[in-house]
């Protein structure tokens, strides 16, 4: 008999990328009215966490760090099938860059005695992709990023992954505990069932942790972030001719004029 696994899935609330549009006049982004939703790549993370649980047994706990209303993404995870949800919420976390963010997630993963931590590839708002390796580095655990497929090997206390590498792929085995970043689009996320949805919205209450509950109150937040935003510029739209032509013949002529064919 092999033991069951504690699977932790990290999720993030982000502005809905589909709600974000370009203002054709100014070339800038409209996102003021974008709703807060679950980061899209995290659906792939949740799906593989649930699949892993079906294969080896155990529990799936969704974790998020954010303001109290970020509980909404935990509800989404629970509706999809996560057994439980944990909210890391504290003013002390405010302004954290990837170093303290991955520290907080590493601390809760340790607290929950995680065997496997699964994250999405990156967040659609800041897209650094640094948090999953950061969690692994803080805890001194193995990591598997850009994962296309997971195969558990519970008898060896290992997780085997097929991961995307430049120009191909590799199969790699990691000893537990391990942090996984699933590649965006790696699987087909399931749809939440109605009963589960109702439970998530009405009865589910997340467990809450503050920074001091995790003993990291002096190591998180803006003041403990090594990087800071030194400024924001609007990216100037690249000037284009925007010339409309009728058909392939006209287009070919234009290409000839430009010396492109």
């Amino acid at each position: 008999m092999t033991r069951e696994w504690n699977i932790v899935v990290c999720v993030k609330q982000v502005p809905d990328a589909d709600d974000v549009s370009i203002d054709p006049e100014t070339g800038t982004l409209n996102r003021s009215d974008a709703a807060a939703v679950l980061n899209k790549p995290d659906y792939n993370a949740i799906e593989s966490a649930l699949t892993l649980k079906e294969q080896v047994g155990g529990t799936v706990t969704a974790v998020t760090m954010g303001p109290p209303f970020a509980v909404a993404v935990l509800e989404t995870a629970v509706a999809l099938g996560a057994d439980d949800g944990v909210l890391l919420t504290d003013r002390a976390f405010g302004g954290s860059d990837t170093w303290p963010t991955s520290l907080a997630l590493a601390a809760i993963a340790e607290e929950l005695e995680a065997d496997v931590v699964i994250c999405g590839e990156e967040s659609t708002d800041s897209s650094t992709g640094q948090v999953p390796p950061g969690i692994a580095a803080h805890n001194g655990w193995a990591q598997l990023t850009y994962v296309e497929e997971l195969e558990p090997a519970p008898e060896d206390e290992e997780l085997i992954a097929t991961r995307d590498i430049e120009g191909g792929h590799e199969r790699i085995a990691a000893s537990l505990p391990v942090v996984v970043a699933m590649e965006f689009g790696a699987n087909q996320p399931r749809v939440a069932g109605l009963h589960r949805k109702i439970y998530a919205e009405t009865d589910f209450e997340p467990e809450e942790y503050s920074a001091s509950d995790l003993g990291i109150e002096d190591k998180v937040g803006l003041a403990n972030s090594p990087t800071s935003v030194g400024g924001m510029d609007t990216a100037d739209p690249v000037p284009r001719k925007k010339e409309m032509v009728e058909d392939a013949d006209d287009l070919f002529e234009a290409l000839e004029e430009e010396g492109l064919v």
């Binding site: 982004l29 120009g167 000893s175 090594p226 510029d233 690249v238 001719k241 032509v245 013949d249 492109l260």
Partner: protein
């Protein structure tokens, strides 16, 4: 104050040379060119860091391409690449030698292990930068990166911690030119990785094929959702023009094109002379990967598609008619050229 460091104790610009099985990732040479500029501006050395098994030839090439000093960690544990050994070795060298700036290619490999250096050394790490500058008075690294789909550029600074680390997108800088007359020093460093026990992982199988590098292409013909999965017209035109096929994220996710051909924020940055976008709406995610193209042509049946705002020439029409017609014209013209050469 995150870390008790005195920035004056840190100097030199480090560039990580990524190689797999003796093949150097082109971004490494791009970073050497950019690192050379930063080092000159600061009046410091450009140091290349190389890990692998039997890689002295690459170390010499790094000098030819601009490095003053090359640190080589040579051991079988570094081949094939794994995050554990790479991160541990790099972090140990950072702690021993205090570089001020460390640049790593924003490849899957670079983005995989950069955190394993930045976390234990408490370094500031900025992801996927597209511009690097040295601030005049402070001599701080200004690492610029596109945010939220690329409409804005954020400048990230690291004022208190060292080193200032950044992963840098492939394809945005020109590679360093070779200069055989350059001189530099190659130093073999102590390998600190304690063999397999420190590795956490073992590679069972590694399959790498000759995947095309679209970042080098002069002409790119890209297809999106509007192709409805029929990429043959894209391939036909690319073939006629002597260019490469590329695709949007959607098209890659649908399985219509290989991931290596994806252009966009999460894919590759291309800078061809000619970029033809067929059946591509022009989401910001995609625009970011093609914005450096010289001439952009858009073909889309939806006249309101944002791609037309970002194209030099546009046709509102059916790509299944326009592309074959254009391919035919191109073939005719080339045929005539050949004929007139006779």
């Amino acid at each position: 104050m995150p870390a008790d460091v005195d920035p004056d104790d840190y100097e030199d610009v480090w560039v990580f040379i990524e190689q797999h099985d003796g093949e150097v990732a082109k971004v490494s040479w791009e970073l050497l060119a950019e690192g050379r500029k930063l080092a000159d501006k600061k009046g410091e050395r450009l140091v290349a860091l190389l890990m692998g098994d039997d890689v002295d030839e690459i170390a010499e090439e790094a000098i030819v391409r601009g490095a003053d000093h090359v640190l080589v960690a040579d051991d079988p544990v570094f081949e094939p690449y794994r995050a554990g050994p790479y991160g541990a070795q790099f972090a140990a060298l950072v702690e021993e030698r205090n570089p001020d700036i460390a640049l790593i290619g924003g490849t899957h490999t670079g983005r995989d292990f950069a955190g394993r250096v930045a976390v234990p050394t408490y370094a500031g790490l900025t992801a996927d930068c597209t511009e690097l500058e040295i601030e005049e008075d402070s001599h701080l690294l200004l690492a610029k990166r596109p945010t939220f789909g690329g409409d804005a550029m954020a400048t990230i600074k690291c004022t208190t911690n060292r080193p200032q680390m950044a992963t840098v997108r492939a394809g945005v800088f020109d590679p360093a030119e070779r200069d055989e007359s350059r001189e530099g020093e190659i130093e073999h460093v102590e390998v600190v990785v304690g063999g397999e026990d420190d590795a956490f992982t073992r590679i069972i199988e590694r399959v790498v094929s000759d995947v095309v590098d679209i970042t080098d292409a002069e002409i790119v013909v890209a297809g999106g959702y509007g192709t409805e999965g029929n990429f043959s017209v894209i391939e036909e035109l690319a073939d006629a023009l002597g260019g490469e096929v590329a695709a949007t994220r959607e098209a890659v996710e649908e399985g219509w094109a290989e991931p290596a051909r994806q252009v966009g924020q999460t894919g590759k940055t291309v800078r061809p002379r000619l970029y033809i976008a067929a059946g591509i709406s022009g989401a910001i995610q995609h625009l970011e990967g093609m914005n450096d193209s010289e001439t952009v042509i858009a073909i889309n049946s939806d006249e309101n598609a944002p791609i037309f705002e970002n194209a030099d020439y546009g046709i509102v029409g059916d790509l299944f008619e326009v592309l074959p017609a254009l391919a035919e014209k191109v073939r005719e013209a080339k045929g005539e050229e050949v004929a007139s050469d006779d």
